[in-house]
């Protein structure tokens, strides 16, 4: 790979330590050019990954990533850093496994340590039906060559001895499913690593540059209006999950999306305690421990449209109740921080990676709870979609038109807009 900056290595570390020379910035901060082959709106994980794979896989390097604030300020830095590929539905299973495989080689590929920690994820079952469902999902995963192990209650007790197995447990634990290759990634490093690698290929990353509209020629999008002036583009890609509807409205499009607020939480740091990622089966709740020692967890969305990026207190309480129902021993831990991110919610819980009704305009969004783990696969598949002007085979089921065709992609089999019910 061609880097304009310094390649990171042990030798480079020694060289810099001995010489005292300053490390160059990880990515360039250029002035906008008047035109690009591809403009990607949104400098989050997805936008930066798309830029990187456009350059690395398709040789498209005359690319700009336009970011309203600074790299890593949005959802790529607000998630709970989990990666996994335990999905049931055909299409999802293969897509998320492709993503996990890319995660497994990402530090080497980017020459940037994203600190992938494959500590394993256990999804708990609290009734026989759930355990049967996990067995079915695990079998589907294994048929697709993905690792999955069904655990009985005793195995869960040995692996996660600190959960509540007492007769008083509100939701008795009957077993679970383990994916050993699942785990966590340092999310900031993902943004920085992709930014650095894309910049190394000549991609311009334009921070503090807000898109305010689109340049149009009939039904064709020919560029963007920004706070730093108009920039022409052969192809334009929207990569701003959370604010997709706002950008789409600038292009005159309405989307099957509502924006909702999801909170995440971290406790004060404690000694190593939770060695895995654990997902509660009785409610939407997931927990892991960061390298700094804080327990990182999250739950449901707040429950009404919002762009505020500030959570409501009642959700703090319900998520904390989940934590204590599962692990009574952490009841006296103090919360260090909690924060909110805005996510696109879609009717079927699945995202969009596709062309749009406008020529030259491409769309990636609608990520619901699952955007972070998909980052590398989104980058690769969206770059393919833009470069070939046709959807990548792994994302053909993720079109904007699927609801018009009564062809939703409903992983949980619960029907449309379930989060509203």
């Amino acid at each position: 790979m061609r880097f304009l900056g310094t390649r990171y290595s042990a030798a480079a570390l020694v060289r810099h330590a001995l010489s005292g020379a300053a490390w160059p910035p990880a990515w360039r901060s250029p002035q906008p050019k008047s035109s690009y082959d591809v403009i990607i709106i949104g400098g989050g994980g997805h936008g930066l990954a798309t830029a990187y794979y456009l350059a690395a896989n398709h040789g498209v390097t005359n690319v700009a990533v336009i970011e309203r604030a600074y790299i890593g300020s949005g959802n790529v830095g607000r998630n709970t850093t989990l990666v996994r590929s335990n999905y049931l539905l055909a299409g999802n299973t293969q897509f998320f496994e492709y993503s996990l495989k890319l995660w497994e080689g990402l530090s080497q590929e980017l020459n940037y340590n994203v600190m992938l920690s494959q500590r394993g994820q256990v999804v708990l079952a609290h009734d026989p039906l759930q355990l049967d469902g996990l067995a079915r999902k695990g079998n589907i995963m294994r048929l697709n060559g993905i690792d999955a192990e069904l655990l009985d209650r005793g195995e869960v007790m040995r692996m996660l001895p600190y959960l509540d197995y007492s007769p008083r447990a509100r939701f008795p634990i009957l077993g679970g499913m383990l994916q050993r290759r699942a785990g966590t990634v340092r999310h900031d490093a993902v943004a920085w690593g992709y930014a650095r690698a894309a910049s190394g290929f000549g991609v311009d990353i334009l921070e503090n540059c807000e898109v305010t509209g689109f340049e149009r020629n009939g039904s064709r999008v020919t560029g963007v209006k920004t706070s730093k002036g108009s920039i022409a583009a052969g192809r334009t890609a929207i990569c701003v999950a959370g604010h997709s509807s706002v950008l789409a409205a600038m292009a005159g499009l309405r989307l099957p999306i509502e924006s909702h607020l999801l909170q995440a939480f971290v406790t004060e740091p404690i000694k190593p305690f939770v060695d895995h990622v654990i997902s509660f089966g009785a409610e939407l709740f997931y927990i892991s421990q960061s390298d700094k020692g804080g327990l990182v967890f999250g739950g449901h969305i707040d429950g009404f449209n919002s762009y505020t990026q500030r959570g409501q207190f009642p959700r703090v309480q319900t998520v904390a109740e989940c934590a204590v129902a599962l692990m009574p021993s952490i009841s006296r831990l103090r919360l260090l921080r909690h924060w909110g991110g805005i996510q696109d919610m879609t009717p079927d819980g699945s995202p969009f990676i596709c062309r749009t009704p406008l020529e030259g305009l491409y769309f990636n969004g609608g990520w619901c709870y699952q955007g972070f783990k998909a980052t590398p696969a989104v980058g690769a598949c969206f770059a393919h979609t833009i470069a070939h002007e046709e959807e990548h085979p792994l994302v053909r089921h993720l079109s904007l038109e699927r609801f018009r065709q009564a062809n939703g992609h409903d992983e949980y089999g619960l029907g449309n807009w379930t989060y509203k019910q």
Binding site: S245, R254, L255, S259, T308, R404
Partner: protein, 89 residues
């Protein structure tokens, strides 16, 4: 905490209410057979960042349906009225 002033019960925490979505949507007439209109009604949303007119039901209070004007960027509530008085679809 988001507070909503119910015209019947006064100012209450939002947790007493159930959010019920965009109040600007117009439900197609029952006999409409154009699936495009139904698609639009069920699936497409303006989802604005800013003023939004929306339904809430006061499920843990008077159980009345309300039309609330709220700014989705700040959660500021500009106005609340009974849906039965109009102002919805």
């Amino acid at each position: 905490m988001l507070k909503i002033a119910c015209p019947g019960c006064g100012v209450r925490n939002y947790t007493e209410f159930r959010y019920a979505g965009d109040a600007n949507k117009v439900r197609p007439a029952h006999q409409v057979r154009d699936l495009g209109e139904w698609y639009d009604y069920v699936f497409l949303f303006d989802n604005p960042k800013g003023p939004h007119r929306e339904y809430w039901q006061h499920v843990l209070g008077c159980r009345q349906w309300l039309v609330v004007e709220r700014d989705t960027a700040t959660n500021t509530v500009q106005g609340t009225r009974f849906a039965r008085d109009g102002g919805g679809e």
